[in-house]
Amino acid sequence: MTARGLSGGQATLAIARLAIVRAVRGKALWIAAATAVLPLIVVGVQASLGHTAETMWQTAFMLTLLTLPIVPSILIGPSLSDELEDKTSAYLWSRALPRWTIIAGKLAGLAPVAAAIAMVSLGVAWLVMGGPGKVPVDTAVRGLAGVAAPALVASALVAALATLVPRHAVAVSVVYLLFVDKVVGELPIKLRYVSIAFGGRSVAGFDDLAAAPGALSLLVVGSVAVAIAITRIGRME
């Protein structure tokens, strides 16, 4: 039996599967999933107090967006930083696969999980507040896109930070997304388009923002982050 070598796609899929198995058997995924439940508590109380649909929808969206600093950071951050710190990267780097597949594989496996957690959180909140009767389906769909897209981009950003600061990947990612990104997103100047949180609000249609510029800015930020991560891991020793 001779090893024939893997294509980039095959290697990416293999690493994605490995990342998911490790996440499921580790504790980080369950902590991340638990955060999805928390916004529902507030929405449930608001619903019982008779708050308007608009208020509940805004609260649910903002609280779901608040999980951005946590969920991607604790899913993707340790997946990469522990690999680099514990030197289990030696197993991957000594294999016949291009290094970019390590980033691609981990993101392919875990970024959709981060997005799914955010979508489930907002989706269930939408049902708790009354579903289509209270918040129209198209608004809900935009909202789901408005939490999923930032979750994917935040995952890419965390991957980039993990290759830049492996020892403190989780800490730096949380602080960047919680403080820097959020503050930049509130600024009344064009710079806010760099913010992932702002991009999410645009896609979701809050503050009368158009979806397209927000989506484009998220795409650019995500692409830059992935490029940084791939470049860094290609040079790491």
Partner: protein, 297 residues
């Protein structure tokens, strides 16, 4: 039957016969080691202290400029906000950022890291008691947080006293110092002890960080939101909001609406959470010392 024989080998080693450190001072060794650990590397402590310094300088500039501006004049006439007193409590909103960073890079990681690497074996195979370990780590972390929550605000407080023009004004302004010390002390204890508790509970460093971040960001926010809906004092559960409430209330800064928690709730929340955290740290470390001494096989 073989005759019994014995031999003494001179290994050139002489047992230490000098003075030994009293056991009750071992915690100081651990504290110093904690501070040395914090100072190492680029990202653990230094950048966040620089940020705290920048905040102090920034707020100091605001104090100075507003003192001489029209706003300062108006405040002296009793019109508009009193900047000399308002700027200092507002600064705590910013000091929380480097404090949270230090809690992520050091506070929430340190005990979990010791457990993960098997360092407990080294500590507790020596005459180090769980109490010494906890006291050492706690005082070390308190020292780091004090740099953020006490040093900067006290400097600002003294600076604001220095900006006064008359002796009576200065004496009046001196009243802010006990307030600054009280807020800083409670903030120091809370931000030092609560991350340590999560660190003591978690099996791994990354889990500790994850849980602490979730608690600080999500759980606190959710409970604060529930507080806004159901019962205002609940807002004080959010550490940041508790500090902010305490600062604004003590400095009598007029904040509209029900943004803040009551003063008693803010102080109570910080005290209760800190006390619970310290208890958790002690219980978990003692369990570790008396059971398995941690570490991987």
């Amino acid at each position: 039957m073989k005759a019994r024989t014995g031999v003494i080998h001179d290994l050139g080693y002489a047992r230490y016969a000098g003075e030994r450190r009293p056991p009750e001072t071992l915690w100081r060794v651990i504290m110093r080691q904690h501070l040395a650990y914090a100072w190492k590397t680029r990202w653990r402590l230094k950048p966040w202290v620089v940020i705290a310094l920048a905040i102090t300088v920034g707020v100091g500039v605001v104090l100075y400029v507003s003192k001489n501006s029209i706003v300062g004049m108006l405040s002296r006439e009793g019109v508009g906000p009193t900047w000399l007193t308002a700027a200092v409590p507002f600064a705590y909103t910013w000091y929380r950022i480097p404090a949270f960073m230090i809690s992520m890079t050091i506070g929430a990681a340190v005990i979990a890291r010791d457990r993960e690497t098997g360092a407990f074996t080294f500590y507790f195979s020596r005459p180090v008691r769980p109490f010494d370990y906890v006291l050492g780590k706690l005082t070390g972390q308190l020292a780091l947080m004090a740099v953020i929550f006490l040093a900067g605000p006290v400097v600002l407080g003294l600076f604001s006293v220095g900006l006064t023009e008359t002796t009576s004004e200065a004496l009046d302004q001196l009243r802010i110092l006990p307030k600054v010390l009280a807020i800083g002390a409670l903030g120091t204890v809370a931000y030092a002890s609560i991350p340590l508790a999560f660190s003591a509970l978690a099996p791994r460093r990354t889990i500790a960080l994850a849980v602490w971040a979730t608690y600080y960001i999500m759980v606190s926010t959710i409970i604060a939101q529930l507080g806004a809906l159901l019962w205002l004092p609940l807002k004080a559960f959010d550490l940041g909001l508790a500090m902010e409430s305490m600062a604004m209330r003590l400095f009598d800064v007029p904040i509209p609406g029900e943004t803040l928690a009551p003063l008693w709730a803010a102080i109570g929340s910080l005290v209760v959470q800190s006390a619970a955290a310290i208890a958790v740290v002690f219980v978990m470390v003692r369990r570790e010392a008396e059971g398995s001494v941690g570490g991987s096989s």
